[in-house]
Amino acid sequence: MRLFQIFAFLFSVLVIKYKDATDGIGFSSDEQNAGDASAKLVLLLLCYLANGFRRFSFTWPQFRVELFSTHFHKHKDLIHDVSFDFFGKRMATCSSDQSVKVWDLNENEEWICTSSWKTHSASVWKVTWAHPEFGQVLATCSFDRTVAVWEESIVENASSQLNHIWINKTNLVDSRTSVKDVKFSPKHLGLQLASCSSNGVVRIYEAPDPMNLTHWSMQHELLCKMSCSCISWNPSTYRYHAPMLAVGCDDPSNSTGGKVFIFEFSYALRDWVKIKMIMTITDPVNNIAFAPNMGKKHHVLAIASEKLYIYNLNPRLNGEHNQSSSEQSDISLQEVAHFADHNSKITRLSWNDFGTILLSTGDDGKVFLWMANYMDIWKRVGTIKNDSLNPFELELVKNVPSSGETSGQKSSRISFKRFTQTRGPPPEKPLEPVYKGAYY
């Protein structure tokens, strides 16, 4: 028996070693239960061998092992963007390995990679979903100076399996330099696409016929005169809000002035007009995001630079003032907050659906959650850290006056479950796209 325990111990060490070596096996065991676990370990080894390198998970009290094949769906290079679709059930990732992968959430709340294909001939910087009203459509932009539009079609192959195939609908090749960002317009503006490239040109394309994704015409070309890095549409559906775009530039020198431009569509001129430049931000801007402005009359713009900035944009509404045709609508800017809590530059921003929580991530790998209280004072309400032993627990900031009561302690009810990229192979039958065509 003792011998057996020794064997088990050696084996567990071996497994741990092997885990470190392959990054493929998650392993956790209670030290005291090593003896108990020994039999299971043998069983496990058998299962592992029997299963080959396919993933299986194995749960026992105080003992949880997950095995899955490594490098199965991994991107081969850096991932540059992650994007969820309208419903939050599909995710697209793009990488320097020139490919885009689409991940679908299955019934067991696992993310399964359903398709992966080469999209460009260089690093893919951004990927973005169109509103599902227009179908399952993705747009990607790349270092190879193009923007590509993709549409999914599901075909049945010989063995009656459903394959997700993404068809290249068009390549927009107007840019002379790397295209850094691409975004579909909000639904009420139709099927429009804004892209910005690193020589400072913002291009707005439109598909006149939403049923025909192969035909896009360039509507406008806006000049920023600086290397653009990010773009954001104003999602407001308010009747009196003209379409608006914010563009961030990542020119490294501070002397070139403001790095954020705000464009507004003027119905009188039928063109986009630069209405504002945020002069105070002179550091390169990495990301920019308008908040969904549910019922607000002003816009909230978050800017990720060396610091995190939050601006309120108070438009003077066309309807109220009945301005003369040539005069562009005025907008007043108000900086409501800026934070340097990330001790590095901030790379990404995202808003929740309500536009109430701003999530930011920086080069430090942390995710911060920001919320405004009733006085419109923004505070950090939480941090998601990666910790080796308690991975990804949400830690809440103490003394948050956001909703009356403060509760500082770590909540047991918020546990952020961690999935890794290395999920197993897709199930036998791929997911049915239940949402296809469900909208309207």
Binding site: D77, K89, R239, K296, S350, N386, T420, Q421
Partner: protein
């Protein structure tokens, strides 16, 4: 690693060569560069210290130039300083001897090729042996000194694009062709090649042997398919050992000296940059130069120096690039992606550098060495090293960082076990609940699913509806919303009550109603009412009391007779039913509402005691209490006739004006005296209805000022909520109100309401709550929202004229009176009855009928392939 000499820091330099250049070649000691072009053949010397170019010699001299001078390629002999060979576009190969005494250095022209010579190359050891490739599909080996063609190799393939002697296998050379082939030859055997393989799709524009003796069998090729491929050509069946997918077609490539895994490429067209690739990380260029303004045609590394790269371009410039001034795309890329899903997932893709550093300690507690698989790991000395960016260690680290860059994708899931429902209105919401609610929205979904937006079909009073919804909001963990529902329910219970009564009593149908139905019902009822007996019996289900009230019929009973919506009897009934309790509610809660409305305080429920909330919050109790009040008020007001009620008001007024904010409870129910100790500050509405004028009014007009106030307060509250990004509550309240009362009473901008509804619909769609989505669309009074439901994709068309059928009567076309229509009623072919629903027909001949009949018909005629009489199918 070479030593870095601070004095020997040459910057990128350039010179204008005076014409479009096609090719360049560097002499052995790097002191001179020759540039060749269409009408250009110049030698530039390079200053050893400054790196400045200087024109050394122009070989392009004299009068008669001819096509011999138009060079496609140039090669400088590495063993003989004085020997240069150019390949001319007319098929001639010209050799130049710099040691020649006269001005014309050209000493031999070898016109053996019939078409353009694309490439010429010296043997690495035999200084006079050259090989050339031509578009005519042959390679020829010459001895320049002997001025003769030694051998001709017929490729039996397409035009030759590139040819080069192997630097270490003395007799071998490789050639690439327009058809995508690469051949390896031994020049001793001129009839057949050693091996041949298809390397690329399309032309193989360039190839180069690896300069490192350890890699003597390694060959890199680049082609039109924008790939760079690295081959091991030792065996007769060469195998691809690596590839680099580049951005555009590869026109030329050069291995970087002393860097085993790096090579530089230029593109054929469009792309003017020079990319330096690392085979170990092949998707991102290690570095690039973008100095040229036109296609870069030729590149060459400085011999044995990995830091300098010469390049010439069609824009007429010759550059010497310093690798230290190259652009490293990996430095500027965003290494993280991040997004939030509507389902509460957070996707985070991060650089492994940051992600895995803390994982140096393995879960078992052993802090073993970090395996390289986890990527580059920062050490303690990082800060120190970073401070000296020119140190070799720094460069090494940067290189490591570049090579090991890897992302990990992590998906966070907001935990789903958040089913905490608030027990009562004073429950506080913790931060984590708020965060979860805002990220995953369990409460939002719960409320959206369970709210009743209209209660008319269920004969539910407005107040009941609000109470129910308030309970739902409470369950979902939103006491604020629950309170708002209760308040709205209190505000509008009279008017809404009336409508319910009418709906139940007047028209005894339980059909679900739309707004238009209600409107028409109203008119009908208004007509009916005026004809009815003058005493109406109002059954108040909830209050359980029957109030008989005399109503005079006729036009005078209607104040706002135009729409029949507000009738005087309603007001009178209110008074009679004792809705004096309403003013007290308003007044006592006015501060509450306003403060609530303005600073949005979420937990400041303390201005209302529990006792009070109990009376409101718990429905059964509330109604009982209400009942008592009602009875009291009836007792109080019931005796007095209406005009004399004015007199009584003076007493009421006094109590209202107490510093505590005034409560009617104090007079009507002294047992429930409010215990609020601190006098509340005066509120905005004060002047409006605390003044004598407003209160001492004619009884028939009494509710009006309160009505104005409540609209104002309600709309303010709704706008406040919408401003705080909660569109669900305003939209639900508006819909609920408008299903009872006409919505135009709330002073809200229609555009605002439209936007709220749009946003709410969007949110519902995000969570795929299609039923709720449809309900909102149906109940909405905004034309643009209602229009959403009209955009159906199923249309009925007239069988005869193919025009769309009217929505009301989908079996009869608008033009049915026209002669062609009347002759042909839409009848079923089988039963000959008019088809009023689904008309199934043959698309070819319009022959068809009821779906059921057709199905029957099909069943009968199973043996025959088509069912159409005319055999269309």
């Amino acid at each position: 690693m070479e030593l870095i000499n601070a004095d020997y820091q040459k910057k990128t330099t350039h010179v204008n060569v005076g014409g479009a250049a096609n090719a360049l070649s560097v002499c052995r000691d790097n002191s001179k560069v020759i540039v060749a072009g269409r009408s250009l053949l110049k030698i530039f010397s390079v200053d050893e210290n400054t790196g400045q170019f200087k024109e050394f010699k122009n070989l392009h001299i004299g009068r008669k130039q001819g096509l011999n001078m138009s060079s496609a390629d140039v090669a400088w002999c590495q063993n003989d300083e004085m020997l240069i060979v150019t390949a001319a576009t007319n098929g001639a190969i010209v050799a130049w001897d710099l040691a020649a005494m006269n001005r014309n250095k050209q000493f031999v022209v070898l016109s053996e090729h019939r078409r353009t010579v694309t490439k010429v190359s010296f043997h690495p050891h035999e200084s006079s042996r050259i090989i050339s490739g031509s578009q005519d599909g042959t390679m020829k080996m010459f001895d320049v000194r002997k001025k003769e063609c030694l051998c001709t190799f017929d490729s039996k393939a397409d035009g030759v694009r590139c040819v080069q002697f192997s630097p270490y296998n003395h007799f071998q050379f490789a050639a690439s062709f327009d058809n995508g082939n690469v051949q390896i030859w031994d020049y001793r055997r001129s009839n057949i090649c050693i091996s041949q393989f298809i390397a690329h799709k399309g032309s193989v524009y360039t190839l180069e042997w690896h300069p490192d003796p350890e890699e003597k069998n390694t060959l890199a090729t680049g082609g039109r398919d924008s790939m760079v491929k690295v081959w091991d050509v030792l065996s007769s069946r060469p195998k691809e050992i690596n590839n680099v997918p580049t951005t555009s077609s590869v026109a030329s490539l050069r291995w970087r000296p002393r860097r085993k895994d790096q090579l530089a490429t230029v593109s054929m067209m469009l792309d003017f940059t020079i990319n330096v690739w690392d085979l170990r990380r092949k998707y991102v260029p290690f570095a690039y130069f973008d100095d040229h303004r036109d296609t870069t045609t030729g590149i060459a590394w400085k011999n044995n120096d990995p830091d300098y790269l010469f390049s010439c371009s069609k824009d007429g410039t010759l550059f010497m690039h310093n690798m230290k001034e190259s652009i490293r795309p990996s430095d500027n890329t965003q290494t993280s992606g991040f997004d939030v899903s509507s389902l509460g997932y957070l996707g985070l893709a991060g650089d492994d550098k940051g992600m895995y550093t803390p994982r140096a300690q393995s879960p078992s507690g052993q802090s073993n060495k970090l395996p390289t698989l986890f990527g580059w790991k920062g050490t303690e000395n990082d800060g120190l090293i970073y401070s000296r960016p020119s140190s070799p260690t720094y460069i090494g680290l940067k290189m490591k960082q570049f090579l090991n860059a890897r992302s990990s994708l992590t998906i966070f899931k907001t935990s789903s076990d958040n089913n905490k429902f608030c027990e009562d209105l004073d429950d506080n919401i913790s931060v984590e609940d708020t965060v979860i609610e805002h990220l995953k929205k369990p409460g939002f979904i719960f409320m959206a699913k369970n709210y009743k937006l209209t209660g008319i079909s269920a004969a539910l009073s407005f107040k009941d509806l609000c109470t129910q919804n308030s309970q739902i909001a409470l369950k979902a963990g939103s006491p604020n919303i629950a309170r708002t529902w209760l308040l709205v329910g209190e505000f509008y219970c009279n008017e809404a009550q009336m409508r319910t009564n009418k709906a139940v009593g007047g028209v005894n149908t339980s059909l679900p109603r739309t707004q238009s139905d209600n409107a028409t019902d109203k008119h009908r009822r208004a007509e009916g009412d005026s004809k009815k007996p003058s005493i109406m019996s109002r059954k108040d289900d909830l209050h359980g009391s029957q109030i008989l009230f005399p109503v005079t019929s006729g036009a005078e009973s209607e104040i706002h007779s135009d729409e029949g919506r507000v009738e005087i009897e309603d007001y009178l009934t209110d008074i009679a039913r004792g809705h004096h309790s309403e003013p007290d509610f308003y007044i006592s809660d006015d501060e509450n509402i306003l403060s609530y409305g303005y600073d949005g305080a979420t937990s400041e429920a303390d201005f209302m005691t529990d006792q009070e909330w109990n009376t409101i919050g718990i429905p059964s109790e509330a109604f009982e209490q209400k009942e008592v009040l009602d009875m009291e008020s009836i007792a109080k007001f019931g005796h007095v006739d209406v005009p004399s009620a004015v007199a009584n008001l003076s007493a009421a007024k006094r109590t209202i004006l107490t510093p505590h904010g005034g409560r009617w409870h104090e007079t009507t129910a002294p047992s429930r005296v409010e215990v609020s100790s601190s006098p509340s500050p005066p509120v905005e509405g004060d002047g409006m209805f605390f003044s004598d004028k407003d209160l001492v009014v004619k009884p028939s007009l009494w509710p009006n000022p309160l009505g104005a106030i409540k609209h104002e307060i309600t709309s303010k509250q709704l706008m406040h909520m919408a401003r705080n990004n909660d569109v669900q509550t305003p939209v639900s309240i508006i819909l609920a109100l408008s299903s009872y009362i006409s919505s135009d009473i709330l002073p809200l901008d229609e555009c605002d309401v439209e936007r709220w509804q749009q946003s709410y619909l969007d949110l519902l769609a995000k969570h795929q709550l299609w039923v709720q989505h449809a309900e909102v669309v149906k109940l909405s009074r905004i034309p643009s929202i209602r229009g959403l439901s009209a955009s159906s994709t199923v249309h009925f068309c007239c069988r005869v004229c193919q025009r769309r059928m009217p929505g009301a009567k989908p079996w009869r076309c608008d033009h049915w009176e026209q002669p062609d229509h009347t002759n042909k009623p839409v009848t079923c072919f089988l039963c000959n009855l008019t088809v009023k629903g689904l008309y199934t027909y043959c698309q070819a001949c319009n022959f068809g009928g009821h779906f059921r009949c057709v199905a029957e018909w099909m069943k009968k005629r199973k043996d025959k392939p088509g069912w159409c009489e005319n055999h269309c199918i």
